[in-house]
């Protein structure tokens, strides 16, 4: 694609943003006195800020670029990541799981596993999570630098060093609070930077009706029914009827249940934001408040991709085309920015894009330094030190976490496959985790051995399933079938991922129950108070005004989500 030329006004906007990011870190530095200030913001964050940070931490490269790309590639069905997956999962974590996370005073998700099960379950989760966050942050950095190289002609090294230095500075100074504040800043930047793009794009294609008409052409051209790109549920009766290549069961069970609940309910990256809230009610309201803007995000991140493919498919030739003739979906959002925004607003759009990449990195780094310091360093390497010692370790972990991310970013430029493989391994580890939490929180009979070996078996099941199946058109190897035989071919990678998750979750669920029944309980009812549903006193919200109660919010959020699903059926 042709490079974008930035004017002085665009650089000025970027400069103002960087000044604010660093200024926030600088102002917050004097509030960091203990390790809990650094890793958990001293549990002092109001619900609305924690809520916006909860979704912003996840709003990294994968979301902004990836959801735009999926919007172009799969159309309206991409909304299932929000209206079927994320929102119900966020309601679940707020209503049912937060009482245990926040109430147990655990400082991290692995620490909850230690309290509920045992040290080995915590260790397994802590180590895989720590490695995963460092690599995610590295991938975010790599993606940002590659993108800036491509669209602005900036050197790869400059982008990596600049983004690493800024993220390092503001986390080092202000810890999690700094990361959270900047995530909220980024949230507003994304909304304000992308909304004019969406409005201009929609006006250009002739509104929603013009867009659906153009998308019908795209769909029939690709050999699907006319509405395949513009409806979310209508073409799910068979995998061959929609571009995503899934049928309703695989979608609802794989994406809606296992993957989404697994991510939003157990990933410390997001849960950490709610743990930083200033009260139990605030912690429970965090994901619920987050769900409200989250359900509107498809407008900002998916719609630009849909507009891009509509313009591309009806003669615009908007997107750059790969050598095999398919459009480069990953460039949908950057191309749209360059296509519609004039100098001035372009600066704001690019700033929003960079902000999202950087807060994605920062989210990973803050989660990494907490898990490293509390769950690995304090519990295995140097226990029993003073709080100031662990605070220093937190600062130090921030530095080496970012250094490792830089290394990962450079590794990605040379060995693309290694990162793909690692991501695959993490997917295997993460898929079964939700079964462990579900059983741990709602069945007191679940034992430490059951949880640990159940997780291992679930992970193995994911790997075995992936090793025996292949997405359509792929060659055996990283994409699947690494055992040599192909038992089944899925229509798409997406379908393969969903089914891998379903197998992993079911295997972990069954194995954890079986092993728990065969082993002795390692925690008494007394020790499990506050950690398991049946042994925890019910929270009563009578003292809160009815419209501020988590339950009221939950009903409202689910109702609105249902309406959205029906409108775009």
């Amino acid at each position: 694609m042709q490079q974008i030329h930035l004017g002085p006004i665009d650089y000025a906007i970027l400069g103002v943003y960087f000044a604010f990011v660093l200024g926030i870190g600088w102002t917050l530095r004097r509030f960091v006195k203990s390790s809990e200030d650094f890793f958990l913001s001293g549990r002092s964050i109001p619900a609305w800020i924690a809520g916006l940070a909860f979704i912003s931490a996840n709003l990294g490269a994968q979301e902004v670029i990836g959801m735009g790309a999926s919007g172009a590639k799969y159309g309206m069905m991409t909304s299932h990541f929000y209206w079927l997956g994320a929102i119900p999962a966020m309601v679940f974590v707020g209503i049912f799981m937060m009482p245990f996370y926040y109430g147990s005073r655990a400082r991290s998700v692995p620490e909850y596993l230690k309290l509920r099960f045992d040290e080995k379950t915590r260790g397994f989760n802590a180590i895989t999570f720590a490695v995963m966050t460092v690599f995610s942050s590295g991938i975010s950095m790599y993606a940002l630098a590659k993108l800036l190289e491509l669209i602005l002609g900036w050197s790869f090294h400059t982008s990596v060093i600049l983004s690493a230095a800024i993220v390092l500075a503001y986390i080092f100074l202000g810890g999690l609070t700094s990361a959270i504040y900047n995530e909220v800043l980024q949230f507003f930047l994304i909304v304000m930077g992308f909304l004019p793009l969406v409005l201009l794009g929609l006006k250009d294609v002739g509104g929603w009706s013009g867009l659906t008409a153009k998308l019908n052409t795209v769909a029939t051209h690709a050999g699907y029914a006319p509405g395949a790109w513009s409806s979310s549920w209508r073409h799910l009766d068979a995998a061959s009827a929609n571009p995503m290549g899934v049928e309703w069961f695989g979608l609802v069970m794989g994406l809606g249940f296992v993957l989404s609940f697994g991510y939003w309910c157990t990933d410390f990256l997001v849960v950490q934001r709610a743990m930083a809230a200033n009260s139990m009610t605030a912690a429970r309201r965090t994901p619920l408040l987050a769900a409200i803007p989250k359900m509107l995000f498809p407008v900002l991140v998916i719609l630009p991709g849909m507009i891009a493919i509509a313009m591309h498919g009806t003669g615009g030739g908007l997107l750059p085309v790969e050598s095999d003739g398919t459009p480069n979906y990953n460039l949908a959002v950057p191309v749209m920015l360059a296509h519609y925004l004039p100098s001035g607003l372009l600066g704001l759009g690019l700033t929003a894009l960079m902000a999202s990449f950087m807060s994605g990195m920062a989210g990973n780094v803050t989660a990494f330094n907490a898990v490293w310091t509390y769950d690995i360093y304090q519990s295995h390497i140097r226990p029993g030190q003073s709080d100031q010692h662990y605070l220093r370790m937190g600062h130090f972990a921030t530095v080496f976490g970012i250094l490792l991310s830089v290394v990962a970013a450079y590794a990605a430029t040379r060995f693309n496959n290694i990162l793909d493989m690692l991501q695959l391994v993490f997917a295997f580890v993460n898929a079964p985790l939700f079964a462990t939490f579900l059983l741990g929180m709602f069945w007191r009979r679940t034992t430490g051995h059951g949880a640990f070996y159940g997780l291992l078996i679930g992970t193995a099941a994911a790997a075995i399933h992936h090793g025996l199946v292949l997405p359509h058109g792929a060659t055996p190897g990283l994409k699947g079938a690494f055992f040599g035989t192909v038992l089944h071919t899925y229509p798409s990678e997406m379908a393969q991922n969903f089914w891998t998750a379903i197998f992993a979750w079911s295997a972990c669920f069954a194995a954890t129950i079986a092993i728990s029944l065969a082993t002795k309980r390692n925690k008494s009812d007394d020790e499990l108070k506050g950690l398991v549903y049946a042994l925890t006193p019910r929270l009563t919200d009578h003292e809160i005004v009815w419209y501020k109660r988590p339950a009221t919010l939950a009903v409202l959020v689910l109702g609105l989500t249902l309406v959205l699903n029906v409108i775009f059926w």
Binding site: I9, A12, I13, V16, Y17, F20, G23, I24, T27, L28, F31, S44, P46, I49, T177, Y181, V184, L185, F188, M192, P196, L200, K203, D204, H339, Y340, L341, P342, S343, G344, L345, L348
Partner: protein, 77 residues
């Protein structure tokens, strides 16, 4: 609260709003061929300005409220 987050948000968007509005007034209109002939810098600049000022307003009101309740509580023995 340690630092009222609405303060930096309001300040930053007010600055962005002023920058874009002014740029919209002076820049060569030819650049708006991309944005369907709309002077989007001017219009969106004004939107950002309003958003920024509203945020600032909330932050300042909260601060004043905090101060007056402080003096109130110290004045009662």
């Amino acid at each position: 609260m340690k630092l009222d987050l609405r303060l930096p948000i309001g300040l930053m968007f007010t600055i962005f709003g002023v920058m874009l509005t002014l740029y919209g007034l002076v820049a060569d209109p030819a650049i708006y061929a991309r944005s369907l002939g709309i002077n989007i810098n001017l219009w969106w600049g004004l939107v950002l300005l309003v958003f920024g000022l509203v945020m600032l307003g909330f932050a300042l009101r909260a601060q004043r409220g905090l101060k007056s309740s402080d003096t109130h509580s110290t004045s009662t023995p």
